[in-house]
Symmetry: C2
Subunit: 323 residues, 2 copies
Amino acid sequence: MAYTATGSVDTVAIVGSGTIGASWAAWFLARGYQVRVTDTMAGRDAFVQHYIETAWPALTRLNIPGESELATALKRLSFHGILEDAVVGAQFVQENASEKLETKQSLLAQIDAALPADRIIASSTSGFGATALSQAMAHPQRLVIGHPFNPPHLIPLVEVVGGDNSDPAAVEWALDFYRQAGKHPILIRKEVPGHLANRLQAALWREAVHLVVDGVASVDDVDAAIAYGPGLRWAVMGPHLTFHLGGGEGGMRHFVDHLGPAVESWWSSLGSPHLTPDVKETLVAGVAQATNGRSLQDLAAERDRRLLDLLEALQSSRKPLSQ
Amino acid sequence: MAYTATGSVDTVAIVGSGTIGASWAAWFLARGYQVRVTDTMAGRDAFVQHYIETAWPALTRLNIPGESELATALKRLSFHGILEDAVVGAQFVQENASEKLETKQSLLAQIDAALPADRIIASSTSGFGATALSQAMAHPQRLVIGHPFNPPHLIPLVEVVGGDNSDPAAVEWALDFYRQAGKHPILIRKEVPGHLANRLQAALWREAVHLVVDGVASVDDVDAAIAYGPGLRWAVMGPHLTFHLGGGEGGMRHFVDHLGPAVESWWSSLGSPHLTPDVKETLVAGVAQATNGRSLQDLAAERDRRLLDLLEALQSSRKPLSQ
């Protein structure tokens, strides 16, 4: 199957328009695409429009190529109560329904039936693989996972992974398309629970929970250990390059040979907590203490402001370290 | 024992002046302190001076309070071949000798003997606890760990932890002093291998190694999964607050109740690799592929440039999220 050329995509369909779908819509709109949104839930058109209006100043500030005038951009946005209407004419579909297997399977089959077979469908799912999601599709080979990080209009990462039935060319197509659309896609070569970045997050958090529950440090201090320490370095490069440059003249080889034994000894002492009711209470209480009465809205606004400052700062200097 | 008031510290002794000691010297100098450096290795005075000269533009750009003129600041720097000469007159000592237990024990005993007992000694050690390090000291109660993150003149985190013999007031003193000196200290309540942030790094890297070795993704893509994804969020807040804001209206309680089961299922599938010779080769080869011939110097320069951009961007908006 020859797929539509990635460079000729001008229309994207967004199926399911909660927070993730709305954020994808804002991104694609800012990048100059026609965006056709569909959702079965009433009122989602107002929600998406409001989301895009709120996100627009950030997208403008980050100089996303494409249209900078919101009013002009919004002319490229349309809402459709009927899924088939949204999908018709789209060269790419991003599915963002709620994380229920049957819901997604049935929606994907419906998209599959309405969309010409030379077009790729990507699912934003964080919890399922393409093998399971494509069960009811007539053309399962063109389904891939394209898992973004919240919020997709700000965080560049998209995890691309196929399933047992995915066409390798469909996976390549998605990687190429997301790259052209200005994201930073990575290739996950086989299905694993949680994809990749969430597994790394979960691994770090498991030890964080262990240290809190074991009384080693407060939630606030564990969080500060990341945000004022390695988190700052991880925003500029990943863990391997960090260690490569932490290994002195010998780079990664020196690191694994000379610091490896220390790391292995830490590995052997990492904890394996479980989220029992008591552990949950400890974490909830720790967060309450750390946030000291500040509302979620207030904290989220501060997070978004800082994230935008950071993205803007990194943008000028950011190019893949490997190039 | 009543310790010297943290606010009255005007002179800091730096014992051991490799990369960490030199970076501490740059920081304390930029913050306006008298800095007395001692090292038994010949030529370290030139190394430290060169390190400070190289670091100074970054410190000036970050508007570290204190002196901005390098020539004026350097008048507050002195080198001493004899440890006792450096320590005399200092109200605080930061020890940064190489990571050998006997070397550090003997140095700390020597510092202890030369320094009035009302003054705190902190060790930059990443690998030892105060209990072990203080074995040869006459006043073990005033030794604490003050573990910085490389480079200390840029990364705010300092991990403070006492040992079995540490005076709780000495631990409090160190937290207070580092805070006044412009760092972000955290309290680790008991000795654990690797302190805290390195354990979190090790936990994340263990799963990263697992995914690379298991063929799930390349070193380059695993690194990108952090640097273009959660690493960006971790530079603005730690893992618990990230999840608190990822839990929707219900915050952390919603997160642990509704997303906890998924996280626990990922925990149960995390890998436990070992750094066997084959694994080391895989990692070294993966880094070689990811860096594509770029030199360590080139990569380090890019990392430092990006890190500085990021720190500058966060500085205006950065205040502890919990306040």
